[in-house]
């Protein structure tokens, strides 16, 4: 991997020595930035929530001086992407770009909206999204090349989250349509957020409690492994809406027959079927990875542990599980990211979560309402993936040291 990339950059250097070396990826991104700036509207202005909007280019979306400043910054970043190869510089440029256009979108919303007009809606448009995409790609490329360690990745995530929180708290975005949708539903937003997290995390915790013992048993007993894994694979193929829906019937029956179940909040419609469906979906990655992780423990290590006089139980707890832990965590990561996404479907059966806004938005063809549900979902899955990947790296390092 290393040798291949260094070889090609070396040959690339020799063939392009006369020109200041042009970065291929960077030039594509620079082109994207150019198109976004010159050919696509930065924001969309609508007289009210439902009517079709009209696009405004960046130059018309801000007062003239700041508009020129933002355009200059964006062009400088395009230049930097095309010609500068140092990952740290490119990362800085991408961060600067995002720091320029994110507040600019909020500011342009205040600038474009006529004073005292409560109906007008301003949303980011194609130009904004393309610029944001280009900067995000530039940052992602720089981060991939920097090969940051787990702690540095966590720090980068914290910085990004802090910046977004600051932007939201400062009120710079308050005139954007997305935040107006939020302001109309602030209470239900946080209620659905808690519900979403509870569904995704709770069902995953339950899957770990059941899945780990199942995986350990499956590792020991071959017949059971095949049966359990095949059964769970079939569960995974049932489409999520169908599984959610099918569970309504038995739970509704249970609630009707057992008063205690109803008292505990178990109903046919609502969070209970969603919770159980998510639990069933997350069992497969947990069980499969527990089995794989335990299978991968070298026989020599187990022999050594046996030689040291460890009992079967001690071997499992002190040797096998710690060594299998990174692989098990990888399964938990898959389950969690999958759950955070699938929990959106719960809204279809009255289970709540961010999907409520997504499906309401689809029904009203209100894109900003869709985004109000979709953006937090994507952000949560993204953050969960980064955090768990970092933890996996850390445990792998730990397992390696102990080895």
């Amino acid at each position: 991997m290393n040798t291949i990339s260094s070889r090609t950059t070396a040959s690339g250097m020799t063939s392009l020595r006369s020109i200041p070396s042009l970065d291929r990826l960077g030039s594509v991104l620079a082109l994207l930035i150019g198109v976004a700036l010159l050919a696509a509207p930065f924001i969309t202005y609508r007289a009210n929530r439902i009517v079709a909007g009209e696009g405004r280019m960046l130059a018309d979306a801000l007062p003239s001086k700041p508009a020129v400043a933002v355009i200059a910054v964006v062009l400088a970043i395009a230049f930097c992407a095309a010609f500068v190869r140092k990952p740290l510089v490119r990362l800085g440029a991408a961060a600067l770009g995002l720091a320029a256009i994110l507040p600019a979108a909020g500011w342009s919303a205040s600038f474009v909206t006529p004073d005292g007009n409560a109906f007008a809606r301003v949303s980011p448009s194609t130009g904004f999204w393309l610029l944001a995409l280009a900067f995000a790609l530039l940052a992602a490329d720089a981060l991939a090349r920097l090969r940051l360690g787990p702690w540095a990745r966590l720090l980068a995530l914290a910085v990004a989250a802090g910046a977004v929180a600051l932007l939201l708290a400062s009120g710079a975005w308050d005139d954007l349509s997305l935040l107006k949708e939020y302001a109309n539903r602030a209470d239900s937003f946080w209620r659905e957020a808690r519900r979403h997290l509870w569904l995704a995390l709770g069902s995953m915790a339950a899957a770990c409690l059941v899945g780990l013992p199942l995986g350990i048993l499956g590792h020991r007993i071959r017949a059971m492994r095949i049966a359990v894994l095949q059964g769970l694979t079939i569960v995974q193929t049932i489409p999520s809406i169908a599984l959610f829906g099918i569970l309504i019937a038995p739970l509704g029956f249970l609630a009707a027959q057992v008063p205690l179940a109803a008292a505990l909040g178990i109903h046919g419609i609502g969070a209970a079927p969603a919770f159980i469906a998510l639990f069933l979906y997350s069992l497969l990655p947990v069980v499969a990875n527990t089995v794989t992780g335990l299978d991968q423990v070298p026989a020599a290590v187990i022999d050594a542990a046996r030689g040291m006089g460890l009992s079967r139980r001690q071997r499992l707890v002190q040797v096998e599980l710690p060594l299998a832990f990174p692989v098990i965590l990888a399964g938990i990561r898959i389950a969690l990211v999958q759950n955070l996404g699938l929990a959106t479907i719960a809204a279809l059966i009255g289970g709540g979560g961010f999907g409520t806004f997504v499906f309401q938005g689809i029904g009203q063809t209100a894109i900003d309402l869709v985004l109000l549900g979709a953006i937090p979902t994507v952000a949560l899955s993204f953050a969960a993936a980064i955090v768990l990947d970092a933890i996996i790296d850390l445990t792998q390092r730990g397992a390696h040291d102990r080895h």
Partner: protein, 255 residues
């Protein structure tokens, strides 16, 4: 054991075809699930037509994403595309954290209701596993094999077509299988944005509180998924056998 599995698959296929073509024959099985004399079998459209249009959307989307993903995978592993490799690897990781519903919902305002947003969501989401497996498959080709091919006087293009791609094929096929299975399920969600598909049956059931409908739609999709999964896995095994590899070397785990 193997004969038993084949027999089981054949029975499942037969059951599926019979149910989709003549659903009324199975009304007795679904009747206990209905209340207030609601119909036991979906009657707002033909199950056969819905199944076919479901399969068509999935097939077209997977075909499109296979072509693009394999091309991209080959591109970033060639010397002239190498600069895109680190980014494309992290994009695959990031992309998989996007829930399919979000992709679907965001596509609606851009292209309107109907099949198009579903197709876009399936296409984009299907790219990831195929691209990832193409990268893995090409990276797993042993350097000695490539050196030997070079020694035989093959140029870069011949090496790609005659050595690298055939050796990577089982892993690429595993990616395509994963993508098809994800798409089959995601396409049902497409019915929330008015795409013709089996999701319609499930959604009709959710709206009219008719578990029989939900079960029918879900069972047909699940049977389709199990059968297609089995069929594609058999193709993979055949390809792997031709390469002299142990069967089942390709994993379906996304990570």
């Amino acid at each position: 054991m193997r004969a038993q599995a084949v027999l089981l698959r054949a029975a499942a296929l037969l059951l599926l075809v019979a149910f989709v073509a003549r659903p009324q024959l199975f009304a007795f099985a679904f009747e206990p699930l209905t209340a207030n004399n609601a119909s036991a079998i979906y009657d707002q459209g033909s199950l056969l037509a819905l199944t076919l249009s479901h399969l068509r959307t999935v097939f077209l989307a997977t075909l499109a994403s296979s072509v693009l993903a394999v091309t991209l995978g080959v591109f970033v592993t060639r010397p002239f595309g190498q600069e895109f490799l680190p980014l494309s690897r992290s994009l695959v990781n990031i992309g998989q954290t996007f829930p399919p519903v979000a992709v679907l919902a965001i596509a609606v305002p851009l292209v309107g209701f109907g099949e198009k947003p579903t197709f876009i969501a399936l296409f984009l989401y299907g790219l990831l596993p195929i691209f990832e497996n193409t990268l893995t498959g090409l990276a797993d080709v042993e350097p000695q094999t490539l050196e030997a091919a070079k020694g035989m006087g093959m140029n870069a293009r011949q090496r790609l077509i005659q050595v690298e791609l055939p050796l990577a094929l089982p892993v690429i096929l595993a990616g395509i299988r994963l993508s098809v299975i994800i798409s089959l399920g995601t396409a049902t969600i497409g019915s929330t944005v008015a795409a013709k598909g089996l999701g319609e049956v499930i959604i009709a059931g959710l709206q009219s509180n008719n578990v029989a409908f939900i079960l029918q739609g879900g069972l047909v999709v699940a049977l389709l998924a199990v059968l297609i999964h089995g069929g594609l896995a058999a193709v993979e095994r055949a390809v792997a056998r031709r390469l002299g590899r142990p069967a089942g070397a390709a994993t379906s785990q996304p990570s």
